[in-house]
């Protein structure tokens, strides 16, 4: 370890310090929520600055366990943004329910620290440990409303299944390690390149890959490893659902990028069929079940499963030989982050007063009751549907472009994705129908969210629009970030 190593992982260090600072402020200044929020947001701002200072630089630290490249910077920025947005949305929700903000913010920052570590990990052990750092606080967050039976139920389901899958993933990692003889990604790549050249995969390696794939598929909520998603999302406090729907998911795709694209890259022709099947199953099941949901949170949970499927199309395109699939994944991840968080945030805004359900009936007449909130929700939903010129459209377009370029089975997959997207319009637009085309059952007062909340909504909305109107800007970043590893 050296100072330069510390410089390379500076964002992570800064992030840990932010978490510590929050806890210290909480101890030093009890009952001063503004101070805690200011610390959290200010700290995240500093972290962002630190990340941006790294932009353009590359390097590795700790003997190659951690590498700094454009991908790291890009993902780190997304994670910081996720954390900041979650705090912006969370305060207004957490407070009325008498839950502690400091713990909320600190645990969240810990989780995001894990995610940021994943982004830079080029070592299997670090990857696993970082993953655990990301998901363990996630379990706590899911159960954060600990007096709420739904929250704790969702959390324990999430936890049990998550640990189960962690064990599976770990088992797979152990075998890959045992066969390749190294934990470093580049070492694994080198070893597997020999395997790929030699042409035969040992059964032990195949089993390891299978366990590993299953574990990663679980984290990204791909079918048939998705079961935890609806219950965990529905049970969690809504702003935390917003976080869970993007943070761990983008994190899981970061693992996929580092692990499958990085380490397992030489074997990509072998895991391609698996990804194709997963993608097809995931988007189809996600959409089909989402159609029949009456609870918006749960519907969005299934929709997030479907989006996993679309992102997997990008991964498949990469495996099919199109490097542009990687930037497509990143673009999708970024676009998805903002539009999906925005959508959950609107749900959270409605649920600001305790006791308001996330049933679709709650949205009846929202467009008239609260025009701004309605319009924002419409923007997010249309973006999720994939209507231009919004972020979601370009996200889909890039993924599809990559898949079409790859050709063969992937073209069929692209067509399936588009058919799915059309079916998805049904349930997204159903919410719009309720907002604009139905009268509310009982007149709810406009829920005028607080300033922070509005800032958060504004940011997500503006980003959704900017990504849509000027995709070239974001695409430049994703293209750069898509080149990593080797």
């Amino acid at each position: 370890m050296s100072w330069s190593d510390l410089g390379t992982i500076a964002p992570v260090v800064a992030s840990v310090l932010v978490a510590a600072a929050i806890l210290i402020v909480d101890l030093a200044l009890p009952n001063r929520r503004q101070a805690i929020i200011a610390t959290a947001l200010g700290g995240l701002g500093i972290v962002a600055v630190v990340i941006l200072l790294q932009a353009g630089h590359t390097g590795s630290a700790f003997g190659g366990a951690y590498s700094l490249d454009n991908l790291t910077v890009f993902l780190d920025m997304i994670f910081v943004a996720i954390a900041a947005l979650t705090i912006l949305f969370g305060v207004d929700y957490i407070e009325p329910r008498g839950l502690p903000i400091a713990e909320f913010a600190a645990i969240l920052v810990f989780a995001v620290t894990g995610a940021m570590l994943i982004a830079g990990s080029t070592d299997l052990v670090l990857l696993f440990v970082a993953l655990e750092l990301m998901v363990l606080p996630g379990y706590v967050l899911a159960g954060f409303a600990r007096r709420d039976p739904y929250s704790t139920e969702g959390a324990i389901k999430y936890f049990l299944l998550g640990s189960f899958s962690s064990a599976i993933l770990l088992f797979g990692l152990a075998y890959v390690w045992g066969i390749t003889g190294t934990t470093r990604v580049d070492g694994v790549t080198a070893a597997l390149a020999k395997v790929a050249a030699g042409g035969s995969i040992q059964p032990g390696l195949a089993m390891g890959l299978a366990f590993m794939s299953a574990g990663v598929a679980f984290k990204m909520a791909a079918v048939p490893f998705h079961y935890w998603t609806p219950d965990a999302y529905q049970g969690s406090p809504t702003p935390i659902t917003a976080y869970l729907s993007v943070g761990p998911k983008v994190g899981a795709f970061a693992i996929a990028l580092r692990l499958f694209v990085g380490a397992l890259g030489p074997l990509r022709a072998d895991w391609l069929p698996v990804v194709i099947v997963l993608a097809a199953l995931t988007m189809t099941l996600g959409n089909l079940v989402a159609i029949s949901q009456d609870n918006v949170k749960r519907m969005l949970a299934y929709s997030s499963i479907a989006h996993t499927g679309y992102i997997l199309v990008g991964l498949a395109a990469y495996a099919g030989g199109q490097h542009s699939g990687l930037s497509a994944i990143l673009f999708y991840g970024a676009a998805y982050t903002f539009m999906n968080m925005g959508a959950f945030a609107v749900v959270a805004a409605l649920q600001r007063r305790p006791g308001v359900s996330s049933q679709i009936a709650t949205f009846a007449g929202l467009g008239r009751r609260d025009p701004w909130l309605g319009a924002l929700m419409a923007v997010f939903l249309l973006s999720l549907t994939g209507i231009p010129p919004l972020a979601g459209f370009w996200a889909k377009a890039y993924v599809i472009l990559a898949a079409v370029q790859a050709g063969g089975w992937l073209t069929a997959l692209a067509v399936l994705a588009m058919v799915n997207a059309a079916a998805a319009a049904f349930y997204y637009l159903r919410v719009v129908v309720y907002m604009y085309m139905r009268e509310p059952a009982d007149e709810l007062r406009p829920s005028s969210p607080g300033l922070l909340f509005r800032v958060g909504l504004g940011v997500t909305c503006v980003l959704t629009l900017v990504f849509g109107l000027f995709p070239a800007i974001a695409a430049a970043a994703t293209n750069a970030a898509g080149v990593f590893g080797g």
């Binding site: 600990r146 704790t152 049990l160 064990a167 045992g178």
Partner: protein, 103 residues
């Protein structure tokens, strides 16, 4: 027998399977937690076995095993805390009674 990597790996595999069975079959949250511990121990056994037989992995195996044990401890902490929390709400540790959200 004890000098063959295979026997340890098979042993760990059996342990993993037993853990899986417990996780799938037991109703009690703590039982499931214990099953997961069995599975993680199976992984550790694998790691240590690899270390014991593959020279290049020898030292690494111990480090990895230690880290895994630590992670497992953290996981157990969270898990047991969650069990306590939900027990307070539901007054039962039986997981199959936690089904207020489904479909």
């Amino acid at each position: 027998m004890s000098g063959s990597l295979d026997s340890y790996l098979v042993l760990s595999g059996l342990l993993f399977a037993i853990g899986t069975f417990g996780f799938l079959a037991r109703r009690n949250a703590i039982s499931m937690l214990m099953s997961i511990e069995l599975m993680i121990n199976a992984v550790n056994l694998t790691v240590v076995a690899f270390g014991a037989f593959v020279p290049a992995l020898n030292t690494h195996a111990a480090v990895i095993a230690l880290l895994v044990i630590a992670v497992a401890a953290a996981e157990a902490t969270i898990g047991l805390a969650l069990v306590m929390a939900i027990y307070r709400n539901r007054k039962t540790p039986l997981v199959d009674e936690y089904d207020s959200m489904s479909q």
